[in-house]
């Protein structure tokens, strides 16, 4: 498919990289030639220098044959106009806009109807939702939802005292009535898609697919009592848009929120919009400020300042000052993933990755709207693993055959089948059927259809 990406910032670059590797023809549009140059040098894409809101520029980028336009410039309005122009030039073209200003939030549905946008992505809102999920399930390092929230993929670290240390994967499943399944094990930095015989040891981080209702039981068995308590007090450093969205949700859920922000005007704005939250006008990088505001008694600490390194240092400090506190750190830059993940700074939130993930999921689903749709897609472990949800709407040779007789790709695990209201943790005898929703975890990136689970 031909795809135009307007705006060659970080998200534009990531999307171009991913999509061109998935064999789409990418044309990047940006007014700044210096931004396009690295993409041209390193990626297999074409570039057009110009303003993506003008019809002549879109024409040059080949809008006539384009299936999808993704507008991810810095300016919401440019993204919107770009999508509108694209739709006018080629009504068959689907459009995705990144729109992040809070004041446009209530307008989202109107935009979709009036301008025919297929998807509107708000990175701050998406990030805030992800943080909120993590706060709800405090022991999880990462949490991704499947099957409309009925199933979760939960990542936890096995502590020294955990019962899981020294167990085999199949024993864990047995222990929980075969309702949970361990699908990724990271052992000493090595990513393993386990089989039943794989051993777990302390220090491993594991990802478990688990029905939402099972999470408390699972925790009670697996985790220390300390990490089980419900989060009541949250401290947020930095009062940006994400903090605003997050505080709004948390306050609605009856959580006490404290926001530390050093810009006076912004504080006043926040206090007007969030009457239930405590807004502190102070510099969060000052440790005394944190202690004074009760860091030690907090259940969760979220570092959302604009500077990555500041966030990392804040969380590092918090991990010393309040060891039992749940830490969440926002990191914008993706490049140092391998280094940052080794730091004890809790869960890492990368808004750009979330944005890119959501758009990739849309593109893969779009490609295959008749067959078996990709309903959800998550990139895990530094983009080395993908977890996908397919809904099967079409007959194919993978159906109605016991899984043990299918020749599946290596390093691929069918981790759950949702059939009507039942959730099945598949064994070798189970089959996939028409109408099922299937969740697959694999290191073979780029699956587009349920048929792709078969080895070539």
């Amino acid at each position: 498919m031909d795809v135009i990406i307007v705006g060659c910032g970080r998200v534009g670059y990531i999307l171009a990289d991913h999509l061109s590797k998935e064999d789409h023809n990418i044309t990047l549009v940006d007014t700044d030639e210096t931004k396009l140059q690295p993409a041209l040098a390193n990626l297999d894409v074409q570039a057009v220098i110009g303003n993506g809101t003008t019809s002549s520029c879109l024409e040059e980028a080949g809008i006539k044959n384009t299936g999808l336009l993704i507008a991810v410039t810095d300016m919401d309005e440019i993204n919107m106009i770009s999508c509108i122009m694209a739709k006018k030039a080629n009504p068959k073209c689907q459009t995705i806009a990144r729109i992040r200003k809070p004041e446009y939030l209530p307008e989202r549905n109107y935009f979709k109807q009036a301008f025919g946008m297929s998807m509107i992505i708000n990175p701050e809102l998406a990030a805030s939702n992800e943080i909120n999920q993590l706060i709800n399930v405090p022991a999880a390092l990462e949490l991704d939802s499947f099957a409309r929230g009925r199933l979760d993929l939960l990542r936890i670290v096995i502590t020294e005292t955990s019962v899981l240390a020294g167990m085999r994967v199949m024993d864990v499943s047995k222990k929980f009535d075969r309702k949970v399944l361990i699908c990724i094990v990271v052992h000493n930095g090595e990513i393993i898609i386990p089989n039943g015989m794989s051993m777990l040891s302390a220090g491993d981080s594991i990802s478990v697919i688990i029905p939402k209702a099972m999470i408390p039981t699972f925790y009670n068995t697996v985790c220390d009592t300390a990490s089980l308590k419900v989060i009541k007090n949250v401290m947020i450093c930095g009062g940006g848009v994400t903090a605003h969205y997050l505080a709004e949700t948390l306050c609605d859920n009856g959580v006490n929120v404290k926001i530390i922000e050093d810009d006076r005007e912004r504080c006043e704005q926040l206090s007007a919009e969030l009457p239930k939250a405590d807004i502190i006008n102070a510099d969060a990088t000052n440790h005394d400020v944190l202690l004074e505001n009760g860091l030690e008694n907090m259940d969760a600490f979220v570092a959302l300042t604009t500077v990555d390194s500041e966030n990392c240092f804040l969380s590092l400090y918090a991990s010393k000052a309040a060891p039992r506190c749940k830490l969440i750190t926002r990191v914008h830059r993706l490049e140092q993933d391998e280094i940052i993940t080794t730091l004890p700074i809790g869960s890492i939130i990368t808004p750009r990755r979330i944005t890119a993930e959501a758009i990739l999921q849309f593109v893969r689903a779009m490609q295959n709207s008749k067959g078996s749709n990709v309903e959800a897609l998550y990139e895990l472990m530094d983009n080395k693993v993908e977890a996908l949800e397919f809904s099967i709407r079409e007959n194919s040779k993978v159906l109605n055959t016991p899984l043990q007789t299918l020749k599946l790709k290596k390093n691929l695990l069918v981790c759950a089948i949702v059939r009507g209201r039942r959730i099945i943790t598949p064994s070798g005898k189970d089959t996939l059927q028409l109408g099922d929703t299937v969740i697959v975890v694999t290191t073979n990136l780029g699956l587009k259809d349920i048929k792709d689970i078969l080895a070539d």
Partner: protein
């Protein structure tokens, strides 16, 4: 430096050359020249076996890990040397060219689409060699690595650097987003035009099909090796007209054709480079016509010869049908200027390229204006778009290195003690990939007069000229090879 990655590409080049060598072997079988066929087949087999062996051993794809601009340039430059070195082997082994340095000169001249020959008498040469010489023109015209890019996807790094190194012109733009598809489109257009010329030449009943094929491939790559001793002069006027038209077509920027087939006619005919190209050509024709007319030649009689010679020298093909050596000196200077200008960027022609001349003249114009109005801000534009400073800089750098290498080569070749015209035009003819000069290397002349060391200098010049200097300079710079 990702030496393994470079090795992988070179290995592919060896394999592909093996496949190419099978064609002359086939020609040998068809015309029952079994000895030559056997030699070509043996060399082909060795190449293919060696390449297959290494492909089998090297199962990991080394280009995944760090294959950047530097590696791309080095791989391209080395590939061209290897192509020429291997291509010379069968010419030498068949006994057609009894000296390896001469064979190397002939093979390099073929691949770089120069067309300068060291063979004084073509009638004693085996047909497989005749065919192979012309076939190297055809392959060299569009480029071997572009061919590899078209059929083999590169998994990592920046294959664009390879295309940049091999495609002529100041800047490379892809016609479509995917590089592989761009390479396919380029070769598709190239093959289509070649077939078209072949079909048109079929209408001449006096031209043997074998000669037609060789002549067509020579035109397509803007090469210029003759098939017979009489050369293109022996063909009918119809063939000469068709050849003139196709030389010009192959010397034009291929994005022109891409715009035509995508029905962007206005953009296609608006391309500044195409306009300059046609303008310079017609201007030269007019000047020579008038000069001949006023110096007592029958200019009208010579009209086809004038068109043919201008097209041949400007596109750096080097076919000749009239002895322009007998024309007045003014025409020589006009023709020499055309040799220097060369074809368009993104074509199969050599030379300095019309687009670079255009950019340099515009820079001169800008500088003059700036002297008159020192504060005026004035940006250089091509096709209504501003040209970035990088492109201008690299254009100027290519010009400087071009002139310096030209002078150095002339110095080295002048040791052979020929007259100035022969020395200078001989170097220019090889450096700009034309294959025909003035003096002793004019029409009917032969490059075997030069000594072996001059020939080696010219071999370097031909490759440097074909790859537009920088990749070759990079190859010889110590910093490239530092760890």
């Amino acid at each position: 430096m990702n030496l393994k990655g470079i090795f992988k590409i070179l290995n592919y080049v060896v394999g592909i050359e093996g496949v190419f060598l099978l064609l002359p072997a086939l020609v040998g079988v068809i015309f029952r020249q079994y000895h030559a066929a056997l030699v070509y087949f043996a060399v082909a087999a060795v190449c293919i076996v060696v390449a297959a062996l290494f492909i089998f051993i090297q199962r990991h794809d080394p280009t995944k890990r760090g294959f950047y601009g530097k590696e791309g340039f080095v791989a391209t430059a080395l590939s061209w040397f290897i192509l020429s070195l291997i291509g010379a082997v069968p010419m030498y082994l068949t006994g057609d060219i009894p000296n390896y340095v001469d064979a190397l000169f002939e093979s390099t001249s073929g691949y770089t689409t120069t067309g300068a020959s060291v063979i004084p008498d073509l009638s004693v040469i085996s047909l497989p060699t005749i065919f192979f010489r012309s076939f190297t023109h055809w392959i060299g015209g569009m480029g071997v690595l572009v061919f590899i890019l078209a059929i083999l996807p590169m998994s990592g790094g920046s294959p664009l650097s390879i295309m940049k190194a091999e495609s002529p012109g100041p800047s490379v733009s892809k016609m479509v987003p995917k590089l592989q598809r761009t390479a396919m489109i380029s070769y598709g257009l190239y093959i289509a035009l070649t077939v078209l010329e072949f079909v048109l030449l079929l209408f001449d009943p006096d031209m043997p099909v074998f000669e037609n094929i060789c002549h067509t491939m020579g035109t397509a790559g803007t090469g210029g090796f003759s098939v017979t001793n009489s050369g293109p002069a022996g063909y009918s006027p119809y063939v000469k007209v068709v050849t003139t038209v196709f030389m010009m077509l192959f010397g034009a920027n291929f994005s022109f054709y891409f715009l035509l087939i995508t029905k962007k006619f206005r953009d296609a005919f608006g391309l500044e480079e195409i306009r300059w190209y046609v303008g310079i050509f017609l201007g030269a024709v007019l000047m020579i016509f008038l000069n001949l007319h006023f110096s007592g030649f029958d200019a009208r009689e010579n009209l086809l010869g004038i068109f043919y010679s201008c097209a041949s020298l400007m596109t750096t093909t080097g076919y000749t049908i009239v002895d322009f050596g007998k024309w007045p000196v003014f025409t020589h200077v006009v023709l020499m200027t055309l040799m220097f200008v060369g074809g368009c960027a993104g074509s199969t022609g050599g030379g300095f390229k019309v687009s670079r001349i255009m950019l340099m003249l515009k820079q001169v114009g800008k500088e003059v204006r700036q002297q008159i109005h020192p504060n005026q801000v004035y940006s250089i534009r091509v096709d209504k778009k501003p040209v970035s400073a990088d492109v201008l800089k690299s254009c100027n750098i290519v010009f400087i290195s071009y002139v310096m290498i030209l002078i150095a080569s002339c110095l080295l070749v002048s040791l052979d003690d020929f007259d100035f015209t022969t020395t200078f035009s001989g170097v220019l003819a090889t450096y700009d990939n034309i294959g025909v000069g003035f003096g002793k290397v004019c029409v009917g002349g032969c490059f075997n007069i030069f000594s072996w060391h001059s020939k080696l200098v010219m071999v370097l010049d031909m490759i440097a000229g074909r790859l537009e200097i920088l990749p070759v300079l990079l190859l010889f710079h110590p910093a490239t090879w530092k760890k």
